[in-house]
Point group: C2
Chain length 358, copies 2
Amino acid sequence: KKRYNIALLPGDGIGPEVISVAKNVLQKAGFLQGLEFDFQEMPFGGAALDLVGVPLPEETSTAAKQSDAVLLGAIGGYKWDKNEKHLRPEMGLLHLRRDLKVFANLRPATVLPQLVDASTLKKEVAQGVDMMIVRELTGGIYFGEPRGITINENGEEVGVNTEIYAAHEIDRIARVAFETARKRRGKLCSVDKANVLDASILWRKRVTALASEYPDVELSHMYVDNAAMQLIRYPKQFDTIVTNNIFGDILSDEASMITGSIGMLPSASLGESGPGLFEPIHGSAPDIAGQDKANPLATILSAAMLLKYGLGEEKAAKRIEDAVLDALNKGFRTGDIYSPGNKLVGCKEMGEEVLKSV
Amino acid sequence: KKRYNIALLPGDGIGPEVISVAKNVLQKAGFLQGLEFDFQEMPFGGAALDLVGVPLPEETSTAAKQSDAVLLGAIGGYKWDKNEKHLRPEMGLLHLRRDLKVFANLRPATVLPQLVDASTLKKEVAQGVDMMIVRELTGGIYFGEPRGITINENGEEVGVNTEIYAAHEIDRIARVAFETARKRRGKLCSVDKANVLDASILWRKRVTALASEYPDVELSHMYVDNAAMQLIRYPKQFDTIVTNNIFGDILSDEASMITGSIGMLPSASLGESGPGLFEPIHGSAPDIAGQDKANPLATILSAAMLLKYGLGEEKAAKRIEDAVLDALNKGFRTGDIYSPGNKLVGCKEMGEEVLKSV
Ligand SMILES: CC(C)[C@H](C(=O)O)[C@@H](O)C(=O)O
Ligand SMILES: CC(C)[C@H](C(=O)O)[C@@H](O)C(=O)O
């Protein structure tokens, strides 16, 4: 039997609920493919702040680094929103990404035929949308130095951040994107602001230079403001998108909302080697935490990405994906994706339905 | 009779067509309110590059600065896309904004009942949308230093830009936004990324501090990634939005596409004093240039903003706005907003119809 160490970081809000459900699904899918998992649950985010006073305890970071893959629930909540910057759950997440060196964030935005009505876009615009956003995750303005708030020569406060990309950082994320596009429909759109930003000019130059190594991939470029429009105007034009950290943050959230089912969308964050980080795209939803109302499917599908991209266990991943479709086809819906005629279930029951089908 | 000097910058692509139509409308609306205009047409953008080799000639900048208001068509085109950065039409626009010190960019996104079907959003989501995005226009990452492409200690290229805001830059744009919200529905949403960026932490702090001076305005804060989602999920929640230069660039394009009628949307860019800059939100559309197909309404409505925000001539502005609605109510539509049952017209004919109603 193959054994894997999985670090579980439930986090805050609905995090623990969705992680507990996804863990069971992961375990069963693995078992049926001859895999065994050792789960190590560690405090993270607000939960860790309450427990030991920091959002990413040393032990959690170490456990994550020594694992084969990390499954994360969600972090954050009103309770810690007024904390100083370094004592906020979000900072724990940024440091975890940095510690794991997971520079490539893969965010699928897919409209399932079962859920096309959940989109606020017209049906004919939403249906068939199936794109993958490849977001650079450990560079750019999120981490660039200098940063901070200082006092200028007039004695007034000035806030500064630095958008910075070195050639190798662009190349490695571009390669992930070209490889991803190659396995999909062979179209890659690189999004930047090269008509204004120097960092984008270099980005475009490097991505363009790599294109010759991927003759089977059709590369295009788009300005970020236009991309924000095109995602609404005609989202089906996109197959794979690659972009920097901050543009990826904005566009991937926009794209996920287009699908109308943000409670459905998983993500994978990968490095050159070492464990990947897998988490739903949605937040910790403190308003519905502990009420058994959360949609666990995004976390369950994140577990599928963990198997596929993190461990290379495609068959076990496929089991989970099929089981999710099965539960949807049977009409089971949590509140966020409910429409009349279907069966409204809570987080646990949805989990059990998926589990049955695995 | 009151006289005003108006600098006209037709620019590229469909720019000259829409400017010529808007000029006539402006003239008639002014005339009926006892205003006279001296128009000075100046080369700008790609047209100026072809003529004198720079996108913003000294004479054009001077004429703009000495005018009472500037009406701009659109700039850019494939022809100049491969130019070096400082020889691109876009750079002319950035420098013009800087020269005129127009730090406040007002971008309305309104869904007219006549055009609600043009949106890709479902009717119940799109109808009634009426927001104003106040974008900071002369600061932030667009202009911050250091910037450029350099070689690092490993001999590799590095692209750098600086997001930077001083307290007074935030305060002055926030004041414009509070004043704008006050004249609208009294709700202001400030958009930032204060969970990651130091420049956003200062932004949020300054905006929050000013709120006590505007007790009649209800202030909220939203992260930019969430804003990109909420604009699609439930756009009606927004009244006035204030944000930095780059977030404003992205979100205002997204918002304008939500309305489905980007060919309809004007913008105003204002400074503390001195002439304002008024231009449609759409681009130069080189693919339909010179074919009398462009929708001139965004530029005509920009002329209305020029009267209202630039010259304080509200009555003349109202004449233009009413005339536009009149032409739409009569069923006149250019191709971009056409739907069956209406009368398809070109740029000139649409202009004449509006002119009749002024
Ligand atoms: C919570 C926040 C720091 C984070 C980000 O901006 O990366 C989140 O928005 C995301 O996209 O994962
Ligand atoms: C053309 C470009 C430089 C400009 C900008 O980014 O400001 C445009 O997108 C706009 O929004 O007016």
